[in-house]
Structures are given as structure tokens and as C-alpha cells.
């Protein structure tokens, strides 16, 4: 429709091979599998691919070059099938439609009076035009200023809500438990309702240790254990420290072989402005 739309479509690479964009289909029609996989990411579906192939012929959708386009489309689909790529089903459906239109085009015309109505391409052309609008709309949406990408909403805190006595919403523990169950199955199937209680205790303890490190830059290893919690409490603390260390959230430091071990926040040196630590300790 619009000329700039055509230009954009033309510059779309078929894929990338070892970092190099592939714009033209190689002569022998061989496309390396990695390029094809990337290409599948590039196209949002068979309509998108089809539109690209038509643009590549520098043709108007209205004069859909069905024979050429079908030929090329089949090459892609054949390769997808060989590589057993997912999504092929939607692409195969389109392939079947193209093949049908092609065969109807090859048949001798029976009554050559109303060409508009009889053109086997008419339905596909209508769909392509419609899809083209959607594609352009999506492109325009992407260009629109987006919240948290291009701008942020500015809010101010207020005590008025409390004054209003607006009771916060109530929720029961069973609802929360159901939500947990739902979330758990998204992540770890094995775990579902029998997530080890130890794991949860450990995660919770990890938070408390991080919190302690918010107040103090470093704490003595021993202070993170409370004997009154008994053996299991000590184990939980120990596991929490190991896990935090593994996730790179804390560091364990020791001046020499036999001195006290300290737990510290793992610090990022890129932005430290010297006297942070002193200020934080005072705070």
C-alpha cells in the first residue's frame, strides 16, 4: 500500500548466518538450518512469509504472482518439514491453499466472462490485504511511546487513603495456597503439592539474611544462627547461607585461616562512590 511499507519489507533479512544477514535466497536454494530457524522467528506466521515473498518479487498483492510465490513458499515449507520444525502445521495449511489455487489457475477457463469473481486468487488476495493492515498496525503500535519503555507514570504517595479508612481487600490463606499451587505447577512439575517444607523455610531464611545485610554491610557468620531454634533451625540457616552464596547474593569473607568468618553483601564496584559504606553504617 504505502511505499515505505514496501521498503521496510524489502530490507528484512531472511535470517542470519554466523552473524551475517541473509537478504537473498542463495542460488541453489540452500538455506542453512540455523538461518531457517531464525527466519521462523522473524516471520510471525505463513501470512507474513507470503507477504515477504510477494514483496521480494516487487509485485503488488493485487497481481499476486501465484506460480512463483507458491514455488518459493514450497521450498521453505519443504525445508521446515525436513528439519521437523515446529509451527509447520500452520505453514502446511497455507501450502495446501496455494497448491489448490495454483492448480485452479492452470485449468483452462470454462466461462471467461466475470474474471473478478472467478479469479481463484481473489480470496487469498483479500486475506493478504487484510493481514497487511494488521501488520502495519502492529508496527505502528511498536513505534508508539510505551509505558515503562519510553515513559513512566508519575505518582505521589498519599496519606489520604488511610484517612479515607479505605479497608484494604481481604483475602484468605486458602486463596493464597491455591495461588501457590498454580504457580508451582508452572515451574516445577515434580514438586507440585509436595514442595519440601525445608526449601520454603530456606528461601524465607535467605530473605531474613539479606534483610540483616541491608542494615549492616557485614555480619558475623555465627550471629546468623540461633541455638534456641534447635538443630533444624541451624540447618536451615546453613542451607540459606550456602544458597545465597551460590546465587551470588552474598560473599563469605575471612581475614585469615582461623579468624571469624563474615557474611557480606556481594557488592558491585562500578558505582560505589567512596563513602557509601560509612553512611550506610550510620543509617
Amino acid at each position: 500500500m504505502e511505499p515505505e511499507q514496501v521498503a521496510e519489507q524489502q530490507s528484512l533479512p531472511l535470517g542470519f548466518v554466523r552473524g551475517e544477514p541473509v537478504f537473498e535466497q542463495p542460488e541453489d536454494l540452500y538455506i542453512p538450518p540455523e538461518a531457517l530457524e531464525l527466519m521462523l522467528d522473524l516471520f510471525s506466521g505463513p501470512m507474513d512469509l507470503l507477504l515477504y515473498l510477494i514483496r521480494k518479487q516487487k509485485m503488488d498483492i493485487l497481481d499476486l504472482p501465484i506460480l512463483k510465490v507458491t514455488e518459493q513458499y514450497m521450498v521453505y515449507v519443504e525445508m521446515m518439514r525436513e528439519l521437523k520444525l515446529e509451527l509447520a502445521a500452520d505453514y502446511l495449511l497455507m501450502a495446501a491453499m496455494l497448491a489448490e489455487i495454483k492448480s485452479r489457475m492452470l485449468l483452462p477457463k470454462i466461462a471467461a466472462d466475470d474474471d473478478e469473481e472467478d479469479d481463484p486468487r481473489a480470496e487469498l488476495v483479500r486475506r493478504l490485504k487484510e493481514y497487511e493492515i494488521v501488520r502495519a498496525g502492529a508496527g505502528q503500535l511498536d513505534q508508539q511511546p510505551q509505558e515503562e519503555r519510553d515513559f513512566f507514570v508519575a505518582n505521589a504517595a498519599t496519606d489520604a487513603r488511610e484517612l479515607a479508612g479505605q479497608a484494604p481487600a481481604e483475602v484468605g490463606v486458602d486463596e493464597l495456597a491455591a495461588a501457590l499451587l498454580k504457580v508451582m505447577q508452572l515451574v516445577d512439575v515434580q514438586a507440585h503439592h509436595q514442595v519440601q517444607r525445608e526449601t520454603l523455610s530456606t528461601r524465607e531464611r535467605m530473605s531474613r539474611i539479606m534483610e540483616a545485610l541491608q542494615v549492616q554491610q557485614r555480619v558475623e557468620f555465627a550471629t546468623l544462627f540461633s541455638p534456641e531454634e534447635g538443630r533444624s533451625g541451624v540447618v536451615v540457616s546453613f542451607l540459606a547461607i550456602l544458597e545465597l552464596n551460590k546465587e551470588g547474593l552474598i560473599a563469605l569473607v575471612q581475614a585469615d585461616g582461623f579468624s571469624q568468618i563474615y557474611v557480606t553483601r556481594s557488592t558491585d564496584t562500578t558505582y560505589n562512590n567512596g563513602n557509601n559504606e560509612a553512611e550506610e553504617l550510620l543509617a
Binding site: 506466521g45 502492529a138 505502528q140 503500535l141 519510553d150 508519575a154 505521589a156
Partner: protein, 202 residues
């Protein structure tokens, strides 16, 4: 009576404190309910506020669902560094689905799939609904009663649009749309959907 200064402060504070954009009606019915004020007067205050913030890091803008303050667009790149994990990225498939719903609403999932030529993942529909951009406005009376999807004001707000017609590609008029709207307005909005939307905005 209320002084000009007090009025401006109240309007300003109310817009900043609101969770979403604030309409003139909300101002008149809420924070200004005790004063006899008319809409032109509020518009004037809003214009003054716009002017006050002209040189600041934030600006007062009018979006589909009312007035809100937001950060100046040219500061976006620096602000994104502050919260890199808040910066969203949306796939072509999601944006196409969203554009299609905006353009052809109310539309069923099957109709979306017919145009895009590819099956629409449930994850995309879920994301669009959780973000509050799309909601179910009814069901099509055909076998299976598929849900009819439409875009919301929250969608327009997010993309800084006043209306879908602000997207030139989609602004093409479709005569058959009129009919659909007439059919739809005969049917009451499913109130559960509306409640669900309010909740998710909390």
C-alpha cells in the same frame, strides 16, 4: 469558597495520588465535591498545570481515560536504566494480535487466527488480558459461544493513544463494524468482566 491556589493544589494532588488517570468528572465528584465549580474552570486549571510543568522532568498529559502525570519522553532511555527489568518487550505475534483486536473488535479468537493465518497462543491472550489491554465483552452466539475480545482504555493509555483511530493503518473505516456494535449494544456487558478489570487495576 476556594482560592485559585488551593484549587490548583487540590487538582494537582488528586491527579498525582490517583492510581490511574483522573477524569474531570472524578475531580468534580471527588476532591472538589464541596465547591461549586464547573468544567471550564477545571480545564483552565489543567491548562495552567500543563504550563507549570512545561520545563520539568514530568508532564501533565491527557490520555484515553483522563489526565495523568508522566515522565518526559526524552528522559526514557536514562530512566529505563534505573529499572531494566521493568522495560517490556513484546513479540510481533503479540502486537499483531493486539492490533487485530483493536481494529476488528469485538472479535473472536477464531477470527484472529483466520486473519493471521496462524494459531494464537493462549499465553498471548492471557498476557493481553492480564495487562488489562483486552477484555471479553461477550460471547458470539454461534456453536461453542466463543468469547468476543475488545481493547480497553488501559490499552490506549499504555500506548499513549487517545483512540484506536490514532493508528493510521487501523483507521481505515469498516462499514460492517457499525452493525456489530449495534448488535453488541443490545446485549448487556458481562458485569463480571468489568469487576475483574477493576480488581486487576488495584
Amino acid at each position: 469558597m476556594i482560592s485559585d491556589k488551593q484549587l490548583k493544589q487540590l487538582v494537582e494532588a488528586a491527579i498525582f495520588a490517583g492510581e490511574d488517570a483522573t477524569t474531570i468528572d472524578q475531580l468534580l465528584g471527588g476532591v472538589l465535591a464541596n465547591f461549586r465549580l464547573n468544567r471550564p474552570r477545571i480545564r483552565q486549571v489543567l491548562d495552567e498545570l500543563k504550563e507549570d510543568y512545561r520545563e520539568r522532568g514530568i508532564e501533565l498529559v491527557e490520555v484515553a481515560s483522563g489526565y495523568r502525570f508522566q515522565t518526559r519522553p526524552e528522559l526514557g532511555p536514562a530512566l529505563v536504566q534505573m529499572w531494566p527489568d521493568r522495560a517490556p518487550r513484546y513479540s510481533a505475534a503479540l502486537l499483531e494480535t493486539l492490533a487485530l483486536i483493536a481494529w476488528r473488535q469485538p472479535v473472536t479468537r477464531g477470527e484472529i487466527e483466520a486473519v493471521r493465518g496462524v494459531s494464537v497462543s493462549t499465553q498471548i491472550m492471557k498476557t493481553l488480558q492480564e495487562r488489562g489491554w483486552v477484555k471479553i465483552v461477550g460471547h458470539k452466539e454461534v456453536p461453542g459461544r466463543p468469547a468476543l475480545y475488545a481493547t480497553t482504555k488501559a490499552f490506549l493509555d499504555y500506548f499513549s493513544l487517545q483512540s484506536v483511530a490514532d493508528l493510521p493503518a487501523l483507521a481505515v473505516p469498516r462499514p460492517e463494524l457499525e452493525e456489530t456494535f449495534e448488535l453488541l449494544s443490545a446485549e448487556p456487558l458481562d458485569t463480571r468482566e468489568r469487576d475483574a478489570e477493576e480488581e486487576s487495576e488495584q
